[in-house]
């Protein structure tokens, strides 16, 4: 087999297949993990009957969902109702083409010799832009699904998600811009390499950007506390109220895939992707024993855990609160942050470090002042909203 075919066809194709399979499986497993973690937050055990300690519960769920009747409501727009889950899943899986799971690695494949290839499907030089563009297409699936169902709950969910996702796309975009300014590149692979080059993870100078990115990311994936499009207690299940069986599973799968995407991009932009902690400190080199892919997976899982932690902690925002938070706080803050980072980055790499020190000193001092000032008294019944 010639190298051209190998490197241009076989390897990319196999990468694509592997990535899609892995993500579909991971999304399935995440449902189980989430149920177990949430249960732990609520001092119960969660599903633990199927397989060893419930480890096969997600397989049972998938099998059930595949064989369930697929109901299409009467007078629904049949074609769009059918199209919506696909519209949501396709972008959710497509973006994994750009996410770098690891650096260039050498494999020894029997029969083919050594292959040197990156642990990512492809590295486009504008991959970050593409990624942001493609993820925002996913909202069409939600809106169209909500509209085509011919149900008021679904329609309300779809409308809400339209407003919410468009609002939070803005601070997210600005947060990403901050990361781009710091690394001076739109390629995710290069962004990671720059973090090694500059001797600093971008979460240090980009503390605010990271906060903005993660909060908007939670909103973009319709997760608690921003799960207004699905709002169980108000809208039954929001935009996927009228979906059942495998199409519902596809919605679910894309939600979890989006979660993984947001976590992975947050890792790449702000937490040094596959780099070990403090990649330039010599005496920490024993950490290199852990392969880069494992570091990446570890960081992503930490973010996913935080997602579940949020879900176990916070109540849902009211819709006007959500909009107020997005437009009155996050967007102004993101613009200020972009200015800050732009000036620091314009100066030099040293400017980024100065910014990092300033930010962390400021927030550290503020934290000390706020917590030291006085022990906050327990809220009186009136203050707690009890009448």
């Amino acid at each position: 087999m010639s190298d051209t075919i190998l490197y241009n066809l076989v390897i990319p194709a196999s990468k694509a297949v592997i990535v899609v399979l892995v993500i579909a499986t991971v999304a399935g497993i995440l449902t189980l993990v989430e149920r177990r973690v949430l249960a732990q937050f609520q001092i119960r055990k969660g599903p633990n009957r199927v397989g060893w300690n419930g480890s096969l519960q997600w397989v049972a769920d998938v099998i059930k969902l595949i064989f369930k009747e697929d109901v299409v409501p009467a007078r629904a727009e049949k074609f769009i109702h059918f199209l919506a889950p696909i519209l949501m899943m396709t972008p959710a899986l497509t973006v994994y083409a750009f996410i770098p799971w690891g650096p260039e690695t050498t494999f020894r494949v029997p029969g083919l010799g050594t292959i040197r290839t990156g642990l990512y499907a492809t590295d486009v030089n504008v991959s970050l832009l593409l990624l942001v563009a493609i993820t925002s297409v996913g909202v069409y699936g939600i809106i169209l699904g909500g509209w085509a169902s011919n149900s008021k709950y679904a329609l309300l969910g779809g409308l809400r998600s339209a407003a919410q996702l468009i609002s939070y796309e803005v601070p997210m975009g600005f947060a990403v811009v901050a990361a781009v300014l710091m690394s001076r590149s739109l390629s995710l692979v290069e962004i990671v390499e720059r973090q090694k080059e500059y001797h600093v993870w971008f979460v240090f100078p980009g503390l605010i950007a990271f906060f903005l990115y993660f909060v908007s990311g939670v909103a973009e994936t319709n997760r608690i506390p921003f799960d207004l499009p699905e709002a169980e207690s108000e809208l039954v299940a929001g935009f996927h109220t009228e979906y059942s069986g495998f199409r519902w599973a596809v919605f679910f799968l894309s939600e979890y895939a989006n979660m993984v995407t947001i976590s992975a991009v947050a890792t790449v932009l702000f937490f040094g992707g596959w780099l070990r902690p403090f990649p330039n400190v010599g005496w920490l080199s024993f950490l290199d024993l852990v392969p880069p892919l494992a570091w990446f997976v570890l960081k992503v899982s930490a973010f996913l855990f935080v997602y579940m932690w949020f879900r176990g902690t916070f109540p849902r925002y009211r819709f006007d609160q959500l909009m107020a938070l997005g437009w009155k706080w996050l967007i102004p803050l993101s613009i200020v942050n972009v200015l800050l980072v732009a000036f620091a980055a314009l100066w030099s790499v040293a400017g980024l470090k100065v910014l990092a020190v300033l930010l962390w000193v400021f927030f550290g001092a503020a934290l000390v002042v706020a917590t030291r000032r006085q022990k906050r008294p327990a809220p009186t019944p009136a203050a707690a909203g009890v009448r």
């Binding site: 249960a39 001092i43 932690w309 902690t313 916070f314 706020a370």
Partner: protein, 189 residues
């Protein structure tokens, strides 16, 4: 709430800290068929009737607020030639019972001859009328059939010997295990 508290999101981190503390706690779950939780002493569960102690006064039936206890009796001459009441029927319509325990309060015998504090909460049955309409035979023997050792009836002297109690508890556990095994064997059939 001060300005610093707001920009540092202290309340949010407070909330996260609370759930984090719960995350490391072991789960409170009791996995029922394998593990059982002992109800408290005042738990009102399945009825139990002691036919010998019962004086057939029908006070429990009178006291029952929804009239689900049905008692019939007749007189019989005993060995001393005296009249003695004999139960013909003592039925409890358990499907309407609200477990208020007034029948137990009304019972004048010491110890009580009808009582609910048996700590037994497994009231399920495969047929609707199996367990929900109880007659004398069921009321007096269900625990023996199930191989249970019930706590003493209210008014019955408690056994003071602790060692005996411990032994009894052990026996109880053994019996429960036996019961489980029996059930498992029965299921496939």
């Amino acid at each position: 709430m001060g300005f610093l508290d707001r920009i540092l999101l202290l309340d949010i981190f407070d909330g996260l800290w609370v759930t984090a503390k719960h995350f490391v706690r072991p789960a409170d779950t009791v996995e029922y068929p394998e593990a059982r939780r002992e109800p408290s002493d005042r738990f009102r569960g399945m009825f139990k009737l002691d036919e010998e102690r019962c004086i057939k006064c029908t006070l429990c039936a009178i006291e029952c607020p929804i009239a689900i206890i049905f008692i019939d009796w007749h007189n019989e001459k005993n060995e001393q030639g005296k009249n003695e009441k004999v139960l013909d029927r003592f039925d409890v319509d358990l499907k309407r019972c609200m477990f208020c325990g007034l029948c137990e309060d009304a019972c004048p015998t010491v110890p009580k001859s009808i009582w609910l504090k048996t700590k037994s909460y497994e009231l399920g049955a495969y047929e609707r009328n199996d367990a929900l309409y109880l007659d004398i035979e069921k009321l007096t023997t269900w625990d023996i059939k199930q191989g249970l050792t019930l706590p003493p009836a209210p008014g019955e002297p408690k056994k003071k010997d602790e060692k005996k109690d411990e032994k009894k508890e052990e026996k109880k556990e053994e019996k429960k295990e036996e019961k489980k095994e029996e059930k498992k064997e029965e299921k496939p059939a």
